[in-house]
């Protein structure tokens, strides 16, 4: 595409999106310019507004237009429980279950020493301060069950253990609707080790 430096720059800029390689970027640029110019200008505006107006909620660290987001400001949420998640997407998944009415703390990442993300970079002190507000009684660790998510959960559990708080973790096991035949061995081993007595 030597024909246009502007198009080259658009293709290069699209590659800052996660999971977008040179081919996808080229296809996206073509699609936006040829098929969906309205979508392209909508995206431009949405990016501009988001960059200008979104900040971190003072309480949950999620993205918010206000100092405190609507969820944290909602008086009907149970302030005694604090669910710790890695990303806003994880928060959204838990909200979709409609089974949790406590509050959240969004880490905006996970511990990843290999990438230089330690407790300080992740701002764990802010979470500790948040959990120590006197109202929180239970901290539910809902980081992912990846290696990094587990390390993050273990580190947080250790940091929180000194306080008079219940610290819990999402259960591991066979997914709902899952067949043992199609479940990985590690998960089955966990489900066996953490089996529940049926009362």
């Amino acid at each position: 595409m030597a024909a246009s430096p502007i198009l080259d720059e658009l293709i290069a800029a699209l590659r800052c999106l996660p999971g977008v390689g040179p081919r996808s970027a080229q296809r996206m640029a073509w699609h936006l310019l040829q098929r969906d110019r309205k979508g392209a200008s909508r995206l431009t505006q949405a990016l501009e507004r988001s960059l200008a107006q979104l900040r971190h909620c003072e309480r949950c660290n999620g993205f918010s237009e206000e100092d405190v987001c609507a969820l944290c400001a909602n008086p009907r949420r149970d302030a005694s429980r604090l669910c710790v998640v890695e990303t806003p997407a994880d928060l959204a998944m838990i909200e979709q279950t409609q089974t949790y009415d406590g509050l959240y703390y969004v880490l905006m990442g996970r511990l990843s020493p290999l990438d230089g993300i330690g407790p300080r970079e992740l701002g764990l002190d802010r979470l500790l301060a948040r959990a120590g507000d006197g109202e929180v009684k239970e901290v539910i660790l809902a980081t992912n069950f990846t290696n990094e998510g587990e390390v993050t959960a273990h580190t947080l559990a250790a940091l929180l253990s000194a306080r008079a708080l219940v610290v819990s973790r999402l259960s591991r096991g066979v997914p709902v609707g899952g067949e043992l035949e199609n479940t990985d061995i590690g998960t089955i081993a966990q489900a066996l080790a953490e089996r529940r007595a049926l009362s």
Copy 2:
């Protein structure tokens, strides 16, 4: 993500990108806002400039900042050959071979009656006018070898046959480096039917 309408709108806007579903859009929004704000503002600017400044080259119909793109304006390109491709990405692929020094015509799509894209929607009359400029001696049909690309090539061949032009098509066959064992049967059948005499 009920916490922020602005974030919701960004996620919705990202979905105008081809191949991006709700999950990817959410991950992209998070990545842009949390990890790569510089990339996000670069993308904003690139989109803005592209929408404002890119138009179709008068000769090849590709994207260009000028009325005639650099490739079409290059006097060292052989104006007697015109290669017809579906998209700018296809043009880029052929340029990367460094084996073609003729000119191009970019259809910006393909015939697709089911989607309501017929000869008129695709602007085939402009291609016919371009091919009839007196300088063009050969039209090389390099549309894809998909059903729609083949239909487009056949239609163009029929439209161009009335003129004193050589009309050719990219050859089909086993890919370079390909093993017969791993090549699909249709391709092998084509390669057999269109076998070349070794002189």
